[in-house]
Amino acid sequence: MPIQNYIWLSIALFCIGVTGVLIRRNAIIVFMCIELMLNAVNLLLVSLSKYHHDASAQIFVFFIMAVAAAEVSVGLAIIVMVYRHTKSVDVNILNRLKN
């Protein structure tokens, strides 16, 4: 199978994630679209790891997963705090962070 197939699939998933970040206002959905973009990059790294017979890319994917888990825990804590203060998770409300 040509590696191009995996490249097209990764590009498609990444662009769907970018579009989701641009068109949705719910902060949680925006967060999930960021996860989608991270996974598209992970898929590309794994396919290139097989292509070059090199294990380093899979280690990078491992670290990306670790950083994504840390990012999600802190980000969701921030979203919960925003919801407690504003009773909403609309990202347009966050343009006035004071008060």
């Binding site: 199978m1 699939l9 769907i16 719910n26 959905i29 679209c33 794994v46 825990s73």
Partner: protein, 164 residues
């Protein structure tokens, strides 16, 4: 067509459709469930690419930990019933056009890339023995730094989430 190629196309179509569903779904809970479907198809693609260890870690970390966290937050906020405020149609249209233009640019750049075929059959790169050797010989320092990152993320989540 051989079996891996057929499996690749099935998984690719499911993952793209469910990814579009994540963006389009009105109910946030449906978005989370469709994202879990996407993650399972990506784990299947990892197995097709002989990255068995990463496939298992992917399912444990994403479907087991991260998406459960998302579901808990959505249910705590009681968002599943309410309609979310929508962006106006002009902004949505501009967002879709921007994403499509990014897609076209990336495809146009990578169309002429000089790439080859993936090797058929299995290799041992993705097995836990090889990855452990690489992780603890070449990448020891990043591994330890990531443990500090986890500690700081844990403390940060507790400090942020604390009621003052």
């Amino acid at each position: 067509m051989s079996l891996p190629v057929i499996l690749f196309w099935i998984l690719a179509v499911i993952s793209i459709l469910s990814a579009i569903g994540v963006v389009m779904a009105k109910n946030p809970v449906h978005s989370v469930l469709l994202l879990i479907v996407t993650f399972f198809t990506i784990a299947g693609l990892y197995i097709l690419l002989n990255a068995q260890f990463l496939a298992v870690v992917h399912i444990i970390v994403y479907a087991g930990a991260i998406m459960v966290l998302f579901l808990f937050v959505i249910m705590l906020m009681n968002l599943n019933a309410s309609g979310e405020p929508q962006k106006n149609n002009l902004v949505k249209f501009a967002g879709v056009i921007s994403g499509g233009i990014l897609l076209i640019v990336l495809v146009a750049v990578l169309k002429q890339a000089n790439t080859g075929m993936l090797a058929e059959g299995s290799d041992h790169i993705g097995l836990i023995q090889n990855l452990g050797q690489a992780l603890f010989k070449d990448f020891v320092l990043p591994f330890e730094v990531s443990s500090i990152l986890f500690l700081s993320a844990m403390i940060g989540a507790i400090v942020i989430g604390k009621r003052e």
